[in-house]
Amino acid sequence: MKELLRVENLNAGYGDMQVLWDISLEVKEGEIVALVGSNGAGKTTFFRAITGLIKPYSGKVIYQGREITGTPAEKTVSLGIAMAPEGRHLFAGMTVEENLLMGAFHRKDRENVKKDLEWVYKIFPVLKERKKQLAGDMSGGEQQMCAIGRALMSNPKLLLIDELSLGLAPVIVDVLINVVKDIRDMGKTVLIVEQDVQVALEIADRGYVIETGKITYHGEAQKLLEMDEIKQAYLGI
Amino acid sequence: KENVIKLGAAISMTGKLAREGKYVKDGYEFWTWYVNEKLGGIKIGGKTYKLQLVFYDDESNANTAAKLVEKLITEHGIKFILGPYGSSATFATSAITEKYGAIMVEANGASDKIFTRGFKNLFAVLNVASQYLQGTIDMLANLDPSIKKVAIVYEDKLFAKSVAIGAKKHAEAKGWKVVTFAGYPGGTSDISSLLLKVKAKKPDVVLGSGHYQDGVLLVRQMKELRINVKAIGETVAPTLIDFVKNLGKDAEGVFGAAQWAASLKFSDPYIGSTQNFVKMFEQKYGYKPDYHVAESAAAVEVYQRAIEKAQSLDPQKVRDAIASLDFESFYGPIAFDELGRPAKKGMVVVQVQNGNQVVVWPEKVAQAKPIYPKPKWK
């Protein structure tokens, strides 16, 4: 499999406060990779650094063989990197449909956008029912679906999902797990952050464990699930 | 080392009164320059003194003006203060000069109220607000005894309202009926509702009191609403050049009240005549002086005259000298009543005729006969 994303010795943070220390990681095309770790470990920060929402202090982000370190977020999306951010960040004053279409903002292929919209509606029927409702008026779970839908609308090669199951009903989590797998089967690559380590490692091919800004373990998801350290720290067993 | 007499002033160089403030400044500076350069200064007992003008920008703010006058008095030690522009600032600053026993000769604060406080050291060279439209009313009553109804509209601010109240009293004294007496807030860009009411009352004369933009607005909207009357009289606006430039033909026939006009013919002990004043000023500043310039220059002349007369720089003596002045200047007769207001000077009425602003009243200084009644709008 071809390598899609490679991160080398990434250091990043906010102002004086360094959060990430020498992070290295790689993601191959068509993989689902999970990033797990406790609260405040720096997972979100890592996503922000890759998408270009913050500028790393040092290190490299290589995507499709090209270095994209420090490329601002508004540019990375057209390279095929999309993110469903933590906290959803929908355009509250726009309708659900407008939100989804915003996901395709940078796209030129109008025809396919329509098709993708229908596809997203098929995945999340609730969104279709509520397409005229303001996104801000929806419940937390509905919003999460909309956020993932919006990210999908950008036709990404690499999809980053921060806190996949946060605040979602178990049935919906089931749906999302399948969606993530479907997305992968369509040839897209998915990188997820997920608190429910069980869920995360169940769907992922590989996983990285991040603790206070450093990668402590990585490997095949199944293997990680069986490691005692992980069981103790993250599965509460 | 040169001997100097310092005159201090707070002048509106910025803010909403910056336009008028510039005239004031030019007027003060012109006469100072004239005294120093053309007359060689002021002689007191053999010594020659030069006048020196010390001024600051009050940002068109009365409070700042007060602060500055206090600075002039207490830091520069100046006892001879020239007025700021506008009634509010004159109010505030004159209270300070009075407290410190300094003198204020002011040329640009016309509100009647300024003179109700019994100040001893305050003198004005300009007529008070309530007198502004009296000349216009006298003239019209003289021209056409059949006038019965007058509408008075004014900007609802200190000066303009004082003018309107004075005009109302005077019109009623002439036996006219004031059919509309209405103010509108400052800064208004539409008085159509007010004018519709005026139109319904069918007045013979409309009198407007306000500043430049009010004058223009009144004429424009009267035309837009096709309100035809026998005469339109205003305060300041028609005496300004911009009025004619902006309104063009529509300005024709509008009367304006001025403290002074460049066409007047007075003699002056220093500069010779009004004409000379106008000529020299125009040469130096490149524009024709309007009455703000003239009254401001006259205020400096008052100090000059009084100091020469008193032969002293003692504030008390100079004050007494000012109180007893009685002479004709390029600006008109200068003498003060017991409250410090002009005792002998009157206002003049100007009318726009063929694009020129000509004096039409009082008769003895008139350049032309008033055009009456005003032609209807086309």
Binding site: V36, G37, S38, N39, G40, V126, D137, M138, S139, G140, G141, E142, Q144, E163, L166, G167, L168, A169, P170, V171, I172, V173, D174, I177, Q195, D196, V197, A233, Y234, L235, G236 | -
Partner: protein, 250 residues
Amino acid sequence: MSEVILKGRGVTKKFGGLVAVNSVDFDVYEGEIFGIIGPNGAGKTTLMNLIVGLLPLSDGEIYFRNVRISGKKPYYIARLGIARTFQIVKPFKGMTVLENIMVGAFFGHGNYTSYKEAYERAEEIANLVGLWEKRDELVDHLNLAQLKRIELARALALEPEVLLLDEVMAGLNPTEMEKIMDLVRDINKKGVTVIMIEHIMKAVMGLSSRMMVLHFGTKIAEGTPEEISQNEDVIKAYLGERYSKRRKSA
């Protein structure tokens, strides 16, 4: 069984055409932990907002110990002894951890009026919820887990008789979650009645003595966790196959 402390009858909330909460009746008994679950958008948060008075009811009534509280102002209800946490954390930014907690102490049921008393009370609570180390830090710099604790701490400082928790476990990893679960148990043991909304089954099922399930604003089930987890409607509408499979295999 003990007394009913909070009672709702025909509680309804409409947003325009949408009926977010539809004529729900509920009884919460003193001293219990009462779980509310339901699909996203079922109306759980809305119901909580109705209880604490942040939203006016469209219909129905809510009683706290037989005192009608529907229609009362939120601060009044809070002072009566009903505290809540917010699903989306709302710390008072620009204040330290202790100061955040002090706000609760000052204005709650406990009614501490002096700075010193409130301060001491806040210290106690900071200690209780495990924020002792962070007590003098500005809340702006805390991470989500800590903010959730602040939510809890502030609510506790009100010294409530009823505590409403809206997804306090969301976004926490299992270890963190266990800690908070212990905390909730402790609080409950001290006599505080707890109503919790949660999507993490391990937490609600583990803590609750009774549960209620909302679906499209309507109550579709009520009972012990055991009953709920076997209810076919609930599995279909909410729990999903994976959950029941996992449960069975466990």
